[in-house]
Each structure stands twice: as C-alpha cells, then as structure tokens.
Symmetry: C2
C-alpha cells in the first residue's frame, strides 16, 4: 500500500528545483524530524511572513510545539480555523566546494511541513505532547523531572500539526562540476559539518551528590 509508505504529493510539496533531491518517503521524513528538535515555524501575521525558531516533537504522524498562551501566534491557532503554518527542519551535513563558484553547494537534509496548526485542549493529549517535547530533546528526561503543575499547564499552549502535506529534501555526495572545469587547479570536495555535545555543566545550585544521569552521560 503506497499510501502507508509515502506522503501524498501536492503542488506545494513537489519542488520546482532539484526534484531529484525530493522525497515523500515516511521513514526518510521521520528520521530527519527525529534527529532535530528545533524547527523554524512560519505563519502569516497582518499579511506578512513571520519565521520563529521553536522546539518540536513528533508523536506518530503528529508534530507538537508549545509556547506561552500569551503568544500572539498561538492565540491565532486557538480559533476554530486554526493557524496555517509551514514548519521546516534542516540539518546541515557538509559544505560542498566545487571548482566553479556556481556549483558550490551544501549537503543537507530538510523536511517541510505545510498545514494548519491547532491548539490541543484534551488534557491527556496535552500531557502526552509535553512529555514528548522533553523526551524528544533528551530521551528519558520527562520521567526524571517534575511534570507541569496546574498553573504551568494553564500558561502553556500546545500546538499540533498533522503530518499530511510533507516532503523531505536531501543532498549528499561530492561536487557536481562541469566536465570542462575538472582540470582547474582548485581543490574540490566536501568539508563535513559535525554536531555533538560537550560535557554536561551542572547548575550552580545543584546538590553535588546528584550524578550526571545516564541519559546524558552516554550522548
């Protein structure tokens, strides 16, 4: 059943440029989303675009983000019609240096999600989403922290965006120089971009008898 393997293509998710880099494969999309935790969320305010970095988590075919109930953007999502958004996640994997300036490029993996974000009101779904937002960044952390109390829950808006109109775009490999440029004397290849974590820094007021938890030590 193709529909379970891939997202349906739409005018918005079929790129006009570099179509060979596009993918609608669910596993590809999920893997890119699960590797990150900061997205860039775009919406329209007073007719103009706004793009803000925010945290997200995936639960099955749903993405969750959260914010203050006082946020103007999230207030927009509270109304019945929801808030039209574009949510984009990008990982940069390498800088591609070609002999020609024109063919310089970036190796990257990105996912673009179009849809309507809505505020979640069901308490059970809100609790699940908030746990997911913590565990998506640091797996296992939700159980090792104090969960939100009533006052905090009242101050927190949870946004949901279903994965329906989605595509990934992936570039890998070396430079694609034109044949007539191959003899030029310029070094060409890929400078890999790496990401990682430093040693955990305890809070100044942390009880020194509390050890670094295993879910951090193993990263």
């Amino acid at each position: 059943m193709a529909s379970t393997i891939s997202y349906q293509r739409t005018d918005r998710t079929v790129p006009t440029r570099s179509p060979e880099r596009a993918s609608w494969d669910r596993e590809t999309v999920h893997a890119i989303l699960d590797e990150g935790y900061v997205c860039h969320l775009g919406f329209v305010r007073d007719g103009a675009p706004v793009v803000l970095p925010t945290l997200y988590a995936r639960v099955g075919e749903r993405l969750y983000a959260h914010g203050s109930t006082g946020s103007p953007a999230l207030r927009g999502a509270r109304q019945d019609e929801g808030l039209p958004v574009c949510l984009t996640v990008t990982h940069v994997d390498g800088i591609v240096l070609a002999r020609s300036a024109f063919h310089h490029s970036i190796n990257y993996r990105s996912v673009v999600v179009h849809g309507t974000a809505r505020q979640v009101t069901d308490p059970a779904e809100r609790a699940e989403a908030l746990d997911a937002l913590v565990n998506h960044i640091v797996p296992g952390r939700a159980d090792d922290s104090r969960r939100a109390n009533a006052k905090e829950l009242a101050a927190t808006a949870v946004l949901r965006l279903d994965l329906a109109e989605v595509s990934a775009k992936v570039r890998t490999g070396g430079p694609n120089d034109d044949p007539e440029d191959l003899e030029l004397p310029h070094w060409s290849g890929v400078l890999p971009v790496t990401r990682g974590y430093g040693a955990p820094i305890p809070a100044e007021d942390l009880d020194p008898s509390i050890p670094v938890p295993g879910y951090l030590a193993t990263r």
Copy 2:
C-alpha cells in the same frame, strides 16, 4: 548616536515574550549573522506561509541570498514591489535541563529580519554578492574557484534584504528553576551543543597533487 549602534525597534521586533532576551544591538546582530550561513527564509505564497532553508551572506547592512531564476519565490521578488520576507538565523548552544519540565529550555542566539527582498540587477552588486555568498561560508574561497560565467549568471537570481527591521534574541546560562523545586532529586544544568568540521573529503576526481587549501586546513 544611538541610531548607529542599534536598529530601530518596531512592533514586529519587540517580542511579547521574554523581552529580556531581545537585543537590537548592531554588533550582536552582525555577530550572529556572520557565524551562520544557512537561514530560514519565509514568504507568503497564495496566502499561506512558506519557509525554506537557504544560504545567505552579509555585506554591511545588506543580506544577500541567491537562487535559480526559475524559482517561483524569486520570481515574486522580481516585481517592482519586491517580496515581503522574514529571514531567521538560529544557533543552538545548549540544552537547559531544569528540575521542572516547565523550565526546560534551550540556550540559543537568533536573528529575525523583516523586510522586502528585491532582486539585484546591477552587475557589479551581483558579482559582489555572489563572491560574498561563497566567502561567507568559506572565507577566501571566491578567489580560489572559477567565478560564474555569463550563462551561470543568467541562471542565478540574487536577492537583497536590507537590515533595518531587525532583532536578536539570546538565551544563555543555567536553568531558572522555581525556589520550591531546588531540593528535587533531578540533575539540572546545561548540556552544551557543539559544532565543528570533519577532515575535508577530496572529490573522487580531484588531482591528488592539489593539497587541501589553508582556508580549510585551519578550520
């Protein structure tokens, strides 16, 4: 003269949340922009938001991006009125683990630029912008590559966005737990997020007598 030190604040650049993290200081904004090279560019298409990752470079108080002249988005910027955009750059510096789930956060530095992008038509400015786009990612590389020829220039659209309506947002430091949570048994602190570069990977067809250039070896 305050106007030369800071960008003028507008309704769009004064945040409703965490105003203590906001800055309109030019040096702060420039430093954040200059450390990155991938932005998330938002615009409105058929009334809906679109957010795409793209490369950018700063030249003084101008940002440049480029793309194919066939791109629908860039075609929008060709018209006299230009294309209203929001260009956002984000660096993630650390994951902040508080005792409470609610106070979990991210240390980050971001810049949000609102404005109207316009296609650059002046040949000298286009050449300067294209060099800047290469040098912004790998300083010194523009001189060590073949510059665009007439055909490539004809296929390349250069977008310009002036830095006028701009703000930065910066979070640093440890968790801000509530006093009543300080005795909880959960580890708290910051997991630093690091970025770097791996060893350069030569193109498969690179003449092995061409050494890795100094501008890569020293990164």
